[in-house]
């Protein structure tokens, strides 16, 4: 663990090297990624490994740590150079992205809830700066405002709850959270306590009622920011709910309500996706849909749904990031994200439709890719909890398939406007970028236990 962190800090130091900034950083981050794979814990038990005083890895955080480390070099591959910026501004960009990854690693491996919270909040500021400084349109100011205030207002109750927990149980260690018992004063107060704890994560995930910041932030962020946001920052929410649920084993009233809200949210968002005109907004809304499903899974909190949630988080991170990278490849060439104008590229961009097909197929849940496994586990768990949610989840899945195929069909197979298709060729860098997004999906197929959680 300490090796990982030291490597990540060294990447920030490397930024001040004058030449070879991006390439050196890429190599350092790739080294870190390969180191991180050693954290994988295949024993299937709930043990903590890499144990130190304040940092450790268990089978819940290992896949997410690997995901963050994996996405780091891919971000720098996608945003190859920030055009037109001076050297110090480029260094700033690199420093911000590296600091996000550093804090993410700390978040996923921290053993103390307060340090988890501090690092959770610390990822906010660099992301905000990334969106508002390097975004392309004037709407980025509004996007930054929405992002900042939604997340901040969500996490204030979490801070209150953490202080309360530390007062009542006089400990904030995560490994012993299951055996600590929280006594509420009345029957209802434990429910309220639980809600104020997880509302920060619900906003971060986001679920349908709190999702307004996501399409704005994703659309306005530069591609590296979009990729990190979609891939990992959203998963902080899922991770947080799973960790915090250990303190609240018997919240039934509000958890039932929240599960239903999340399922309906998934349905509504999937329907909204079919009517979007901006490609990046489409992918952003699909993130909301998938994450609402994950949220429902984590709130139901059974073995199957938790495993499904982690699997879906990892798979969705990779696929969503791949889709944003693909959208950016087209955007760099046509300067528009409108799906009626970026159309019909099957004949022009030679190998790209293959990557589009796999990414869209993964997005809709095609077996044997892990997206399906995660969705299946979650849906099975939720249906066994209440049969009435079955039609809602079924229709949500159908609409998920509809908009994923819509993405593929409109960008690749629609009628083309041949005369406006003057394109530079897709460089090998871009092909490698998408390939490395999709390779881990294949490896998860053959080693699913790496992304499944302990059986209690």
């Amino acid at each position: 663990m300490l090796t990982l962190l030291s490597v990540s800090i060294s990447t920030i130091v490397l930024i001040n090297v004058k030449k070879w900034n991006w390439n050196a950083l890429f190599v350092a981050l790739a080294m870190m990624t390969f180191l991180s794979i050693t954290t994988v814990n295949n024993s299937g038990s709930a043990s903590w490994s890499f144990l130190s005083h304040s940092l450790a890895v268990d089978s819940l955080s290992a896949p997410l740590i690997i995901l963050s480390c994996w996405l780091a070099p891919l971000c720098f591959l996608a945003q190859n150079v920030v055009k037109g910026n001076s050297g110090s501004l480029q260094n700033g960009f690199l420093a911000l992205t590296c600091s996000i990854i550093f804090f993410l690693l700390l978040t996923f491996s921290s053993l103390n809830i307060l340090s988890f919270f501090i690092c959770f909040e610390a990822t906010l500021i660099p992301t905000l700066v990334l969106i508002t400084r390097w975004g392309a349109n004037v709407e980025r100011l509004q996007a930054g405002t929405y992002f900042l205030f939604y997340t901040l207002f969500g996490s204030l109750p979490l801070l209150v709850s953490i202080v309360l927990i530390s007062q009542t149980t006089s400990t904030l260690m995560i490994p012993i959270s299951e055996i600590v018992s929280l006594q509420g004063n009345t029957f209802f107060s434990i429910n309220i306590w639980w809600v104020i704890t997880i509302v920060a994560f619900l906003v971060k995930m986001p679920i349908y009622g709190f999702h307004l910041w996501l399409p704005k932030a994703h659309v306005e962020a530069p591609v590296a920011g979009s990729m990190i946001l979609a891939a990992i920052l959203l998963k902080l929410g899922g991770y947080g709910i799973i960790r915090m649920n250990a303190y609240f084993p018997d919240v039934t009233t509000l958890s039932a309500i929240l599960t239903v809200i999340c399922c309906w949210g998934a349905l509504i968002t999937s329907i909204l996706c079919t009517r979007q005109t901006d490609l990046k907004a489409l992918i952003a809304y699909s993130s909301v849909g998938h994450m609402s499903l994950v949220a429902a899974g984590t709130i139901v909190f059974s073995d199957w749904t938790i495993s499904g949630a982690i699997m879906l988080m990892v798979a969705h991170g990779l696929v969503s990031s791949a889709l944003f990278a693909l959208a950016n490849i087209l955007y760099e060439r046509t300067h528009t994200r409108n799906i009626f104008i970026t159309r019909g590229f099957k004949m022009i961009t030679v190998l790209l439709p293959f990557w589009w097909l796999i990414s869209c197929a993964a997005n809709l849940g095609l077996p044997p890719l892990p997206n399906l496994i995660g969705e299946l586990y979650i849906i099975t768990g939720i249906i066994s909890w209440s049969i009435f949610l079955a039609p809602i989840l079924g229709v949500a899945t159908v609409f998920g398939a509809i908009y994923s195929l819509l993405i593929y069909q409109s960008t690749n197979t629609q009628s083309i406007v041949l005369s406006s298709m003057n394109f530079s060729e897709i460089s090998p860098r871009e092909h490698i970028l998408i390939l490395f997004h999709l390779l881990p999906l294949l490896s998860i197929i053959v080693a699913p236990n790496s992304c499944m959680v302990w059986s209690n």
Partner: protein, 483 residues
């Protein structure tokens, strides 16, 4: 203390705004939808005021339209009216008063009597649009637009030797579905007794969908509806283009396949300011009217190598045409059509007080200079009045009240429109060169260009005959009925 004062100040402003809204409601004011529109437009909540009402174009836009006359505004309207596409449209117009624009200085008439089927179809579509303009172009919260469309036909007159042209055109027009009738000399004498039908053997009279309207209202309605739907107009001038030249390969000039060039961004310089904004756009539409040829040169069209189809300039240049407004007390009344003499002069009724508009295209060798828009009154005395007096005897007694001059965006090749993209720059579309019949085709052209952008091909009418390719191969598509 300061905070308290600020709170009170904000509260006062809030109540002020609500009370003014209440006052507007109570007084039956027309613009009650403005507050709702402000709420609908979410950006107004968090973006500072001076960024919102910015006069500068944004850094990135989906479609940039150069020139905000009737063509540009029509294209902007149709692009935005296809609401499910959600394209962002910016129109760059350097003259906010439209003082030299061909649109506002035009006589504003619409006819179906062309010899090219595409022209006939375009005019028919536009006539339908104009008749239903209140349905299409009404802005919520204000009065429906009134174009003052006078439904009155054109009357083309032909002497014995030009009769066959009129016959051939008539067959083409009938095939396209235009409602036109041919009238012999006797029929003309009976129908229009005030007309001298001496050497005229045939007349072609439009029965429906022809007439004249107020072009300024048309422009204003298109512009206001486009702005209401979300298009943005900027008072600025295009001064340069940036081209991306990845793998520009020389191509076979007989095949109009795209090479590696792409129009990346447009340099827009603000009026009265040294500021130049670079606007990245996915499509650029050139509707600059008489100045389109000039703008094409900025892009290198006309000065480039032949292998890349850049050797032919856009053949559009301004030509000055005069329009004279006169009063004739005994002139023909309501039944006066837009009469076109075999000599080329035209005259039409204007209003109901015995006023008329007339004009004539001068011969090639007598083209007036286009330096300014000053009117030459001698032209009326020597070229137009004798023909008028010969054709309509009562018009020997008339008094010229005023006159103005306007530019035709004259297509030197064949006086027909150029609609379509340039072979060298696939995302550069043109809709120009209308040579005097632009206003009547503006709704149709708007629809066709929006289809080209959103669907990739012309769906309503196939105007590929009017593409720029004919300018490169120099095969004119001649229009016989040019006024």
């Amino acid at each position: 203390m300061l905070k308290l004062g600020r709170c009170v100040h904000l509260l006062a402003r809030c109540t002020n705004q609500t009370s003014s809204f209440a006052r507007t409601l109570a007084s039956g004011g027309t613009d009650i939808t403005k507050p709702f529109r402000q709420i609908r437009d979410g950006l107004s909540w968090t973006i500072p005021k001076d960024l919102q009402n910015s006069d500068r174009p944004p850094g990135e836009v989906d479609v940039l339209i150069i020139g905000g006359g009737a063509m540009g505004s029509s294209i902007a309207y149709f692009l935005k009216a296809a609401r499910k596409a959600g394209v962002s449209v910016a129109v760059v117009e350097r003259d906010s008063g439209y003082s030299m624009s061909s649109t506002v200085l035009s006589v504003g008439s619409i006819r179906q009597q062309f010899s090219t089927p595409e022209n006939i179809y375009m005019s028919m579509y536009s006539a339908q649009f104009i008749k239903n303009v209140q349905e299409h172009l009404q802005v919520e919260g204000s009065d429906p637009p009134d174009l003052q469309f006078n439904d009155q036909g054109y009357l083309f007159l032909a002497t014995k030797d030009k009769e066959h042209i009129l016959h051939e055109n008539h067959i083409i027009q009938k095939n396209c579905g235009a409602k036109v009738e041919l009238m012999t000399q006797n029929q003309l004498k009976k129908r229009f007794p005030w007309m001298n039908t001496d050497n005229v053997t045939l007349g072609s009279y439009g029965l429906e969908n022809e007439g004249w309207l107020d072009p300024w209202s048309l422009l204003k309605s298109f512009k206001e509806k486009a702005i209401d739907l979300g298009a943005k107009y900027y008072n600025a001038e295009v001064t340069g283009f940036n081209v991306v030249d990845d793998d520009a390969k020389p191509i076979d000039p007989t095949q109009f396949a795209p090479n590696g060039r792409r129009l990346n961004s447009v340099m827009v310089s603000m009026i009265n300011s040294p500021e130049v904004v670079e606007v990245k756009s996915s499509y650029v539409v050139l509707t600059a009217g008489a100045w389109s040829g000039q703008l094409g040169k900025l892009l290198g069209i006309g000065t480039g190598p032949k292998e890349e189809n850049l050797h032919m300039p856009i053949p559009v240049e301004p030509r000055k045409r005069y329009v004279y407004f006169f009063h004739c007390p005994e002139g023909p009344g309501l039944e006066c059509p837009l009469l076109i003499d075999p000599s080329g002069s035209y005259v039409r009724r204007e209003g109901f007080g015995g006023n008329y508009l007339c004009g004539k295209s001068p011969n090639e060798c007598d083209e007036p200079s286009c330096e300014d828009l000053n009117v030459n009154y001698d032209f009326f005395d020597t070229e137009i009045w004798p023909n008028l007096a010969h054709r309509i005897p009562v018009m020997e007694k008339l008094k010229v009240k005023s006159a103005w001059a306007g530019y035709y965006d004259y297509n030197c090749l064949d006086q027909n429109a150029i609609i379509g993209s340039h072979p060298a720059y696939g995302n550069f579309l043109m809709a120009t060169g209308f040579s005097g019949h632009g206003i009547q085709q503006s709704p149709a052209v708007g629809k066709l260009v929006s289809e080209k952008i959103l669907a990739g091909e012309f769906q309503t009418i196939d105007v590929s005959k009017f593409g720029f390719e004919r300018c490169i191969t120099e095969t004119p598509v001649l229009e016989r009925c040019v006024i």
